[in-house]
């Protein structure tokens, strides 16, 4: 099975499996009595929509079964590939930026800030952007990038850097950049927090030994800290990639998918199919495809990588 949890040293609060037969079965039975109703309910609630989506995906509008026609329509729709391309581009911009920036800040603060109070304050500050509702962040971004009343153009023109209105939401590349910048703004702190926490687990002894041996900042990073951070990088990569597939709110508010279909990411595309074209069959087919793909990727990833460390 997965090595997801197996690498954990047994925490003191987890019940090991007892040897005594009679006691084990009683306690175990109690466990199942509590667990199964809750777990079972949740499992059913999760599975029903999936089943329903499959059923919807093989139906036409009038309810008759049409086999894989919806899937064919979904996969031959050029807009679908536009959406995939846009999502891929978005991920390509957002992920490296967030990881590099988050890592830099984590290293910088970890190495430089010694006072516990300051570290804790920075920690709380870093959490704040994560809890702001994405729609609100979208509003903020609108007030910055929008043509006519956006403050960014006002500042740039005031500083003499720009001489005419730059269409942040109108030029395709800039629109993608604007939308990506919001994501980076909101999620770099997440990377920072995870990596910062990870840096805490690096044994001070190794670091001190290396420093005594005359290791430079860079060498220290590559050979010691990176080793401890590697699983965290994978965790971050995985989480953020999954989030990129889900991103919707702030893009919806900022550009609505435009200009044209430049920022029409996958979730926005699916929204359009279901609620603009009212093509329930194609939308359900897309939903099934996406759910299956994610499940496959997820099981591959968890099989191959130990995601968690103590």
């Amino acid at each position: 099975m997965s090595r997801l949890v197996a690498d954990l040293p047994a925490p003191t609060g987890i019940q090991p499996v007892r040897v005594g037969r009679r006691r084990r079965s009683r306690q175990e039975r109690l466990a199942y009595k509590i667990l199964l109703p809750a777990l079972g309910t949740v499992f059913i609630i999760v599975t029903i929509p999936f089943v329903l989506a499959v059923v919807q995906s093989i139906q036409a509008e009038d309810g008759s079964l049409v086999g894989f026609r919806n899937y064919a329509r979904a996969l031959t729709n050029p807009l679908f590939y536009d959406a995939l391309r846009a999502t891929g581009l978005y991920a390509l911009i957002v992920l490296p930026a967030e990881i590099l920036l988050g890592l830099s800040f984590a290293l910088l603060v970890h190495r430089t800030v010694r006072r516990a109070g300051l570290r804790a304050t920075l920690y709380v500050l870093a959490v704040l952007p994560l809890v702001v509702p994405p729609v609100a962040v979208g509003v903020v971004a609108r007030l910055i990038y929008a043509p006519g009343y956006g403050v960014l153009n006002y500042l740039l023109q005031g500083a003499g850097i720009a001489h005419s209105e730059i269409e942040w939401l109108g030029v395709p590349i800039l629109a993608m950049g604007s939308v990506a910048s919001v994501d980076i703004w909101q999620w770099t702190p997440f990377v920072y927090l995870v990596l910062f926490a990870g840096l805490q687990t690096v044994p001070k002894e190794s670091v001190e030994a290396a420093q005594v041996d005359g290791a430079t900042w860079w060498t220290q990073f590559i050979y010691i800290e990176l080793h401890y951070l590697r699983p965290l990088f994978l965790l971050i990569l995985f989480f953020r990639m999954a989030d990129v597939l889900r991103v919707f709110d702030h893009v919806f508010i900022l550009t609505g998918g435009g200009p044209g279909t430049t920022t029409q990411l996958l979730s926005l595309y699916m929204y359009r199919i279901e609620f603009k074209f009212f093509d329930a069959g194609q939308a359900a087919a897309l939903a099934v495809l996406v759910l299956v793909s994610i499940s496959i990727i997820y099981s591959l990833v968890t099989r191959a990588l130990p995601l968690e460390r103590a």
């Binding site: 099975m1 997801l4 949890v5 003191t12 609060g13 987890i14 090991p16 499996v17 084990r24 175990e28 109690l30 466990a31 509590i34 667990l35 809750a38 777990l39 949740v42 999760v46 029903i48 929509p49 999936f50 989506a53 919807q56 800040f105 910088l108 603060v109 430089t112 920690y123 709380v124 959490v127 952007p129 809890v131 509702p133 994405p134 609100a136 979208g138 509003v139 903020v140 609108r142 007030l143 910055i144 403050v151 006002y154 703004w185 926490a197 805490q200 687990t201 597939l245 889900r246 919806f252 996958l266 979730s267 699916m270 609620f275 939308a283 939903a287 996406v290 759910l291 997820y298 968890t302």
Partner: protein, 282 residues
């Protein structure tokens, strides 16, 4: 020696520059949001200024009362609170047995993995069939539809957080209570719960903020202020069919204020909770 001091100076310099830049990049947009919310309607038709010419709270009044968003605020609070209660309760029901009772390790790992996988479901993929269910059950435009789906999506996170906390509490404490003659429920209530409270509060805060921010399901599954939540209202104001940027900004400020306030109030729990004891004060 001198080289060391030089290096430290560079690092501190970098830190100041970095934090300064970050500070500006994060503070200015928020300032602009608040500043825009304080502008009156007439000012929106004049040229842009960084500081409102005649600051006024009229947009907040307009948003909350004329547009009736206080109802949406109420809906959001009720929906999120209910979600927290249900999520934590079910989370405990699932986490307690697999951490405190002897279940096969495969089951524990399996449940945790399965819970984690839920987190990666794209909401838009789920909402399409869920919408059909909501219609069939006739709970369209009812808060319960949102509470249900929010609980579902927040459960994985709650399970992982709760597992972390419950795992930290030594089994011996509960065993001692059991040996002393208490039953499971009492030992749970008297021994475990108090110790797990910081973790529960942290989990509750996080679940609340996630539910608070949720937008897509609220957009699709509600139709009137009977069930509409605040983010739906915020998005509704982002229309270029009207010059209402001040109202738009005010709604954004309100939407942000609640989770931010919650975070600041609960920061003790957050630092303890989110790190699972990993951040040690140096």
């Amino acid at each position: 020696m001198r080289g060391n001091r030089w290096r430290i100076a560079i690092r501190i310099g970098l830190l100041v520059i970095g934090l300064g830049a970050a500070g500006v990049l994060y503070a200015f947009p928020l300032y602009w949001l608040v500043a825009t919310s304080l502008k009156g309607k007439a000012e929106l038709y004049q040229s842009i200024t960084l500081i409102p010419r005649h600051p006024t709270l009229e947009s907040y009044g307009s948003v909350l009362f004329e547009r009736g968003f206080w109802v949406l605020l109420k809906n959001s609070v009720i929906t999120c609170a209910a979600t927290v209660v249900i999520t934590i309760a079910i989370g405990l029901l699932i986490t307690y047995p697999i951490t405190r009772l002897p279940v096969p390790p495969q089951l524990r790992v399996g449940v945790l993995n399965w819970a984690l996988s839920l987190r990666f479901l794209p909401p838009i993929a789920v909402v399409i069939p869920y919408f059909a269910i909501v219609r069939t059950l006739q709970i369209y435009d009812q808060p319960i539809a949102l509470i249900g789906i929010y609980s579902l999506f927040n459960l994985p996170f709650a399970i992982w957080m709760l597992k972390g906390f419950l795992a930290e509490i030594p089994l011996e404490l509960e065993d001692a209570a059991l040996v002393d003659g208490a039953n499971r429920w009492t030992s749970f209530r008297r021994v475990l719960l108090p110790l797990a409270t910081p973790g529960l509060m942290a989990a509750a805060t996080i679940v609340f903020t996630f539910a608070w921010s949720e937008f897509l399901f609220a957009l699709i599954l509600t139709a009137t202020p009977n069930a509409q939540t605040f983010p739906v209202g915020v998005q509704g104001l982002v229309t270029q069919f009207e010059i209402i940027w001040n109202d738009m900004a005010a709604s954004g400020v309100i939407a942000m204020a609640i989770p931010l306030a919650l975070m600041v109030v609960a920061r003790k729990y957050m630092v303890a909770g989110l790190t699972f004891g990993v951040i040690r004060e140096k």
